[in-house]
């Protein structure tokens, strides 16, 4: 059996209230308030498609031996590099082996489902045993555009394999049609969108049913066999009318999370799939549609193994952990949509020595330190001489991953002096329960809630932007975990 063996998702904790967006625009667009309901997920300033994909993949790979993964596929339309393989970056952050295949799949909102089909095909062919698929998007939208309200930021990840399959892959169909409902030209920050009525009538309503019918025919299923119909689309009611058109039951239509998250682009189909799998009953069939210059349709059947799976619940947990953000200006600053006074301290050159980054890639990207084989002391960074003053053994350390180690705050401050995209800048000494420590930046924390002794979780984030050269640094930060 080939299918999905593990799944996970990630939605950033900030939820920009659509009312707050509308309130900023109503002076020029009296209609801005209409439909301004609910909230959209909003990436922190230090998140992008890569960091969110890493988080989703970590959720997906909880308890999984990563050494058996043969390939990684990363889907996105908002990757931070046009030429630097981002799947390789995600792989490095996840400490996957170096002898694996990798590909970035991009340039269409269908990229997520396309990546999944590629992974399933590779495993089905027997070439690969386990393939990781991650998708993340944080698309930019112009201020006051409809997309600003419709888009959300998020990521999903699925592990494809033959053992412990929780969603059996029944088959898929793809249509490739150059239907340009929107596009983003080379070097452009924003999408250019055509008329919604045409997209709905000539695009979704004609292309999706064609693909759905072909997929049902290919798998020998009836429309009524589909218990979860995943049809990512921001047009309200369109998924329901498409279901009706092909004969899928209305109750099978999966909520598109528009009210609580927004459309996470190429990740959305996979995010909805991961979310559906959190609650799907064994035996139920799931149809996943990816739309964008054509259409992908995949069909899965939940297995008994799904019921036995320990509930990680990554997507649901993220959706429940939202924090309402009502400051539209903060959104503009985080997205780089407004020129703001950063002060002279922000003028420092953030050039990255690529030689150093490569030499220390396991330390910087993978948060790998050392553990002394003589005295057992874990330490970060690893060094040739053990830091334990009662040991100081030479060349005694073996690689030791810190990212998932339990840790807590020893000391901290909230700093208004240093340049920060989200002042005050929180940072402090983080000590790992199993040994080791370093002075770490904190992120996703609120002033007044941090104190010594709190638990933290390490996350992979953007450290700095090098705007002069179009580069960005990544490293790990600590997220203080509030006691429940």
């Amino acid at each position: 059996m080939v299918g999905i063996t593990h799944f996970g998702g990630y939605v950033p904790r900030l939820r920009l209230q659509r009312k707050a967006i509308a309130a900023a625009h109503i002076w020029m667009n009296p209609g801005a308030g209409a439909g301004a309901r609910g909230e959209r997920s909003m990436a922190n300033w230090d998140e992008d498609a890569v960091t969110m994909a890493v988080e989703a993949a970590r959720d997906c790979l909880t308890g999984v031996d990563r050494s058996g993964i043969d390939s990684i596929y990363l889907a996105s339309t908002s990757l931070p590099f046009a030429d630097r393989q981002c799947s390789g970056l995600v792989s490095a952050a996840l400490n996957l082996a170096e002898n694996i295949g990798s590909a970035d799949i991009t340039s269409s909102l269908r990229a997520g489902t396309t990546a999944l089909i590629q992974a399933l095909s590779a495993v089905k062919s027997g070439d690969q045993k386990k393939a990781l698929v991650a998708a993340g998007d944080n698309r930019a939208a112009k201020a006051a555009s409809p997309q600003e309200m419709q888009f959300g930021d998020g990521a999903a990840a699925l592990l494809v394999g033959r053992d412990e399959v929780v969603a059996d892959y029944l088959g898929s169909v793809s249509l490739t049609i150059d239907f340009v409902d929107h596009f983003r030209g080379e070097g452009e920050d924003f999408d250019y969108n055509w008329e919604e009525r045409w997209i709905r009538d000539e695009g979704y309503s004609k292309i999706v049913p064609r693909a759905v019918k072909a997929a049902l025919a290919k798998t020998g299923l009836q429309a009524s066999d589909i218990a979860h119909f995943i049809m990512p689309c921001v047009f309200s009611g369109l998924a329901a009318s498409l279901a009706k058109a092909v004969g899928i039951a209305p109750e099978a239509v999966v909520d598109n999370l528009q009210a609580v998250c927004g459309d996470t682009g190429s990740a959305h189909a996979l995010l909805l799939l991961a979310h559906s799998l959190e609650n799907a009953k064994p035996g139920s069939r799931i149809m996943v549609v990816g739309f964008g210059q054509g259409c992908d349709v995949l069909i899965f059947q939940a297995t008994e193994a799904l019921a036995k799976r320990a509930a990680a619940g990554g997507v649901a947990a993220c959706l429940n952990a939202g924090r309402a953000e009502t400051n539209y200006m903060k959104y503009l600053v985080f997205r780089g949509l407004v020129e703001w006074e950063k002060g002279m301290r922000a003028e420092k050159d953030n050039k990255t020595a690529l030689t150093t980054l490569y030499r220390k890639r396991e330390m910087i990207l993978g948060l790998i330190g050392g553990k002394c084989t003589k005295c057992g002391t874990a330490q970060f960074p690893a060094a040739r001489i053990c830091v334990n003053p009662n040991c100081n053994a030479v060349d005694s350390q073996e690689p030791y991953p810190f990212a998932d180690q339990p840790a807590r705050i020893l000391s901290w401050s909230a700093d208004f002096l240093t340049f920060s995209m989200d002042p005050p800048q929180h940072y402090g000494m983080v000590t790992f329960d199993g040994g080791g420590r370093f002075l770490a930046d904190f992120t996703d924390c609120d002033a007044g809630t941090v104190d010594s002794g709190m638990n933290v979780r390490m996350v992979f984030r953007i450290k700095d932007f090098d705007e002069r050269r179009g580069f960005r640094k990544y490293f790990w930060k600590a997220v203080p975990v509030l006691a429940k």
Partner: protein, 400 residues
Amino acid sequence: MPSGIKDKVAILGMGCAKFGERWDSGPDELMVEAYLEAMGDAGIEPSQLDAAWFSTHIDELGTGKGGTPLSIALRLPNIGVTRVENFCASGSEAFRGAVYAVASGACDIALAVGVEKLKDTGYGGLPTGSPGTLMPQWGANGSAPGNFAQLASAYRAKHGASKEDLKRAIAHISIKSHANGAKNAKAHLQKPITEEQVMNAPMIAEPLGLFDCCGVSDGAAAAIVTTPEIAKAMGKKDIVTVKALQLSVSNGLEASHNSWDGSYFHTTRIAARKAYREAGIDNPRQDVSMFEVHDCFSITELVTMEDLFISPEGGAIRDVMDGFYDADGKVPCQIDGGLKCFGHPIGASGLRMLYEMYLQLQGRAGARQLGAPKIGLTHNLGGSPNTNVCSVAIIGAQGA
């Protein structure tokens, strides 16, 4: 065990520029200002100088990373000049170099000058350094106040002190230093402050407010050292000698090993123990007359008074609130106003601290004079609580 530096070297003269926002002066003028005072005090000619040590930390000056900026500014007679830097303890390093040169017998008379011109950056606070290619890829995005503020959270957690009690104690530290600085014409900040001002000042890095942070200033200071025999032969009275010079440097333990709890300076304790031993001091709370410590931030001073073994561990809040370190207290601390009022021109601060101790020991401190102190200690710290260099120097009356 080495015999140590005690009484092998005497201070022949010292000088200190007016510290402050010296819009009128560059580093050259500041160096000359401190140097001329020191030369006048010593009563010697440039031709009598055998060698010089020059400390400046942040910016390269004039011709850059060498001894030439000092030699050119002072028109030194082509003697050896060694440029030293060791974070914020650079000034103490220059002094150490000159003292060791005299103690070795290689020089009869040596000069130490420290300078920093900070007020050409366009903003307050210290400029950011250039810590190589690896640290910028993983080091926390911090500032000096945020790094030192870490002490406060760890100190509270360890000793169970309330936020309010600690904030009030560190406020008292700044109030005391401002009261002292108000009597010092060379200080940058010369106004007394109130507790209300301190407590209500804008937050810089929690819990450190504006008045918990030292000023940012331009300045320079200089020392001329020789042997006690030469000083006596030159007719000097009230000779001040070096009793101890110790430097302890972090080796990564605090930053990387969980044995350090974040609430104290590991290096200060080591340097202090060694310095007391070198100076033959058994009971520092009794035997040291006065302190100039590295009060870059109020919390640093509070913690340091424990690490120098003056207040018991966890007891500094009480000593501070009891006025133990006030000008009229048992052991006055920062009698010149400290970094709090002088600001912290990195390369100059260690020498500026020694300058006040020297004046006090010679009874020349004017309105600030403490009676007849015999032993003064300077503590000059560079870096951050988890990675630093700590210099402890003890000077005193010859024979004390």
